[in-house]
């Protein structure tokens, strides 16, 4: 069936477009442009680096693209850019989005399925966008008797907390949004908030299953927080610092995984529990308590919590890389100069790009390792979980602490790196 109207003439169609373009040109030249210049006359123009951002600069930048370099250089060194875009939230959210896609395909291959396939030309690569649009367009259902302000606020706080943790991760030399001297303590402090948020949300939902789920999240916190922190202690002893960037720099000779493999194992198991992933997905155990503390979520509230969860996954994978796998350290594979014999101002720094590359690669490897148990393990029971956390992991963590202390007092390794 034709979709064109009955009286359709192509000439009329073209004429209407030309008529539209004519009026747009008239209005822009006579009204909009004078208005912009009038406003610009009264408003003080912002500075970017050494240059004033005028509309004329935009035209000159179109002619000579090298003029953009100082402005870009200025922008990427602002705190806002660091916190919001590159080492911070947007980068983490991008990795989170990639993780969701990779997880679905990876799990599907493990289970002899295809996974997302139809959205997007290649292997369902746009599935996440489709899912996001669906979640946005869905109605948010709030159960009767729910604590409405808390119910709305908790998912947003959840994402904000995850974003706060991303600000502490050093991605490349000098590339960290907030280079705290107590970085590792700050990260543990932030991660300790998540079970409390789960409990808060479950309380706000006013429902039985979320309540049980929230309590389970709290049990998980109690069981795994201590081995989690203890497993990072050997790294603090070895590097002699609580600063994450300094921890990475002190691994320039060898990765700390070589002397603290047991700690790395404890850290890995504890991060699975911290992330509520299989086999530690008790707070979301579907067949027992419907969806746990996420039972009453719908629409974008669910979407936000999922985003926060996957950003948290990135944070823990990145933290593992920083503590045990040498962070951004890796062989230099990028050339020192991108364009040979270019003498102007530069924003390309080979060391930084190399660091980002290795960091991202290692983080993705670690993310795959965190995703793996979902395909091969069932869920464990809460008493086994507490037993594992209290008896086994704490003991293992202490064993590695003693090994590291022996190495340091034996004079084999000097604290504060290997000087």
């Amino acid at each position: 069936m034709a979709t064109a109207p009955k009286e359709f003439r192509f000439g009329n169609f073209v004429a209407s477009i030309v008529w539209l373009v004519f009026w747009i040109i008239i209005i822009v030249t006579l009204v909009v442009l004078p208005l912009i210049f009038v406003i610009l006359f009264y408003v003080p123009l912002p500075y970017a680096g050494d240059e004033v951002l005028t509309p004329y600069l935009f035209f000159s930048m179109m002619v000579d693209p090298t003029r953009t370099v100082p402005i870009i250089d200025f922008l990427i060194h602002t705190d806002l850019f660091r916190a919001a875009i590159f080492p911070g939230f947007a980068y983490a959210a991008f990795i989170a989005a990639a993780t969701i896609y990779i997880e679905r395909k990876f799990l599907a291959k493990m289970q002899l399925r295809t996974g997302p396939f139809y959205a997007g030309r290649f292997e369902g690569i746009l599935q996440l966008i489709a899912d996001g649009l669906k979640l946005i367009s869905k109605e948010v259902i709030i159960p009767s008797g729910a604590d409405k302000p808390l119910f709305w606020a908790t998912p947003i706080i959840f994402v904000a907390t995850a974003a706060a943790a991303t600000a502490l991760i050093p991605v490349a030399p000098g590339w960290v949004a907030s280079d705290l001297d107590v970085g590792i303590l700050a990260i543990f402090a932030i991660l300790g908030f998540f079970p409390l948020l789960a409990l808060l949300f479950s309380w706000a939902s006013n429902s039985k299953y979320p309540f049980i789920g929230g309590l389970r999240a709290l049990h998980q916190l109690i069981a795994f927080e201590i081995p989690f922190i203890l497993s990072a202690l050997p790294i603090v002893l070895l590097s002699g610092s609580l600063n994450l960037s300094e921890m990475v720099e002190s691994q320039y000779l060898f990765w700390f995984f070589a002397v603290a493999p047991i700690s790395a194992f404890v850290f890995y198991i504890s991060s699975l529990a911290e992330l509520e992933r299989v086999p530690f997905d008790l707070p979301e155990a579907e067949s027992e308590i419907v969806a746990g503390w996420l039972t009453e979520t719908s629409g974008m509230i669910y979407g936000l919590i999922q985003l926060g969860t996957y950003v948290k996954l990135y944070v823990l994978a990145a933290l593992f890389v920083v503590l045990f796998l040498g962070g951004w350290m890796g062989p230099q594979i990028f050339p020192q100069e991108l364009i040979p014999n270019y003498t102007g101002e530069k924003i390309y720094n080979a060391t930084v790009v190399n660091g980002i590359f290795w960091f991202t690669l290692k983080t993705f490897g670690m993310i795959m390792l965190i995703l793996l148990p979902r395909g091969i393990n069932p869920r464990i029971r809460i008493d086994i979980l507490l037993h594992t956390g209290w008896y086994k992991l704490i003991v293992l963590a202490f064993i590695n602490i003693f090994i590291v202390l022996t190495l340091i007092y034996g004079g084999i390794i000097t604290p504060g790196g290997l000087q």
């Binding site: 002899l112 039985k208 067949s287 395909g375 069932p378 869920r379 029971r381 809460i382 008493d383």
Partner: protein
Amino acid sequence: MSKEYDREFETKFQETTRLGLEVVKESEEDRLMTLSVGPQHPGSGHFRFTIKVDGDYIVYCDPDPGYVHRGEEKMSEYRNFIQNIPHLERPVIHDSTNITYSYSLAVEELLGIEVPRRGQFIRAIASELNRQVYTLYWLAIYGIFLGHSTMFMWPAGDRELFIDLLTALSGARVTHAYNIPGGVRNDAPNGFKEKCLQYVKYFEKRLVEYEDIFYNNPLFRQRTENVGILTKEDAINLGVTGSVLRASGIPYDIRKVEPYDVYDEIDFKVQYMKTCDSFARAYVPFLDMRESCNIIKQLLDKMPDSGEVRLKLQSNPKGQPGESYKRVESGRGALGYYIVSDGSPKPYRVKISVGSFRNILALPHLLIGSKLGDMPSIYWALNYWPVEADR
């Protein structure tokens, strides 16, 4: 609560009320939280049971079946013996050959006819294949109940092998209506024997992988071993059947105890375990699947290559007045039909005795005193199919 405590509490209560404060006494009931599991709960099926939890322990359980009652028994009284087949298989569409098998056997006894030999073999093969389909479906759900998503996808995918074979036999994917009084509806197609053998051999390799990823998984063992103990005496007293009974250490299989059709010619072992726990109940169906592969191979080997598969009956067969009771070993245990005929083309009374309903009687016995986290593993290991129990 002791009496002393009560007296102490009352004196305190009077003091506080004199001060103008309101005190609400905590009763034993206030500690409990009532949870309704089903029929919309992801861990229930078309079934509901109410549980009360004290902390993490279940202290009360009340099964409430009947959500999918369709009146199959009454419907059977208004249709003749042949017409009954398509609706009688509805309660367990995943095991539809077995549920019509015992019906056909009972009707054949009433009509006094005997099925041709090739027909008996094809019947037995179809019922073994269909038991595999059911057990795989059951295992898939057991996997996802324990949070093991791979164990959901693998059996659900491998189920297609047997569905393919049954489609080749009967022409339908799940509701086959293949067994009819007098034999099977049609003969097996050319090349069925080779195809079946090939599929079964592939499936035996897959069973090894199932064992590696699921049954030998330490986390799975931790969760199911020594959970939900159903002792031998309790199993007999509660009247459970099928894999649940065999997991309690009683080697009872209808195929061995009351061999029907060609099963007395087949050499097979009754698989049973003596640990009586949830793990045994999960593992016995798996062992049954492995044994079933052997049975299928033997049946294919001994099957006559040609011959009639169906005894020609008139379209509206009538038998002598009388009654008959026949049962077969279905995926969930003994599945029997008691049919009373008054000599007319329609049965006077049909009573279906299913394994599911007998197994679910053990649910409160096992759940009370166990942990909430064990609820899915205990419940689904009972090999219960809600729709079949409701009939």
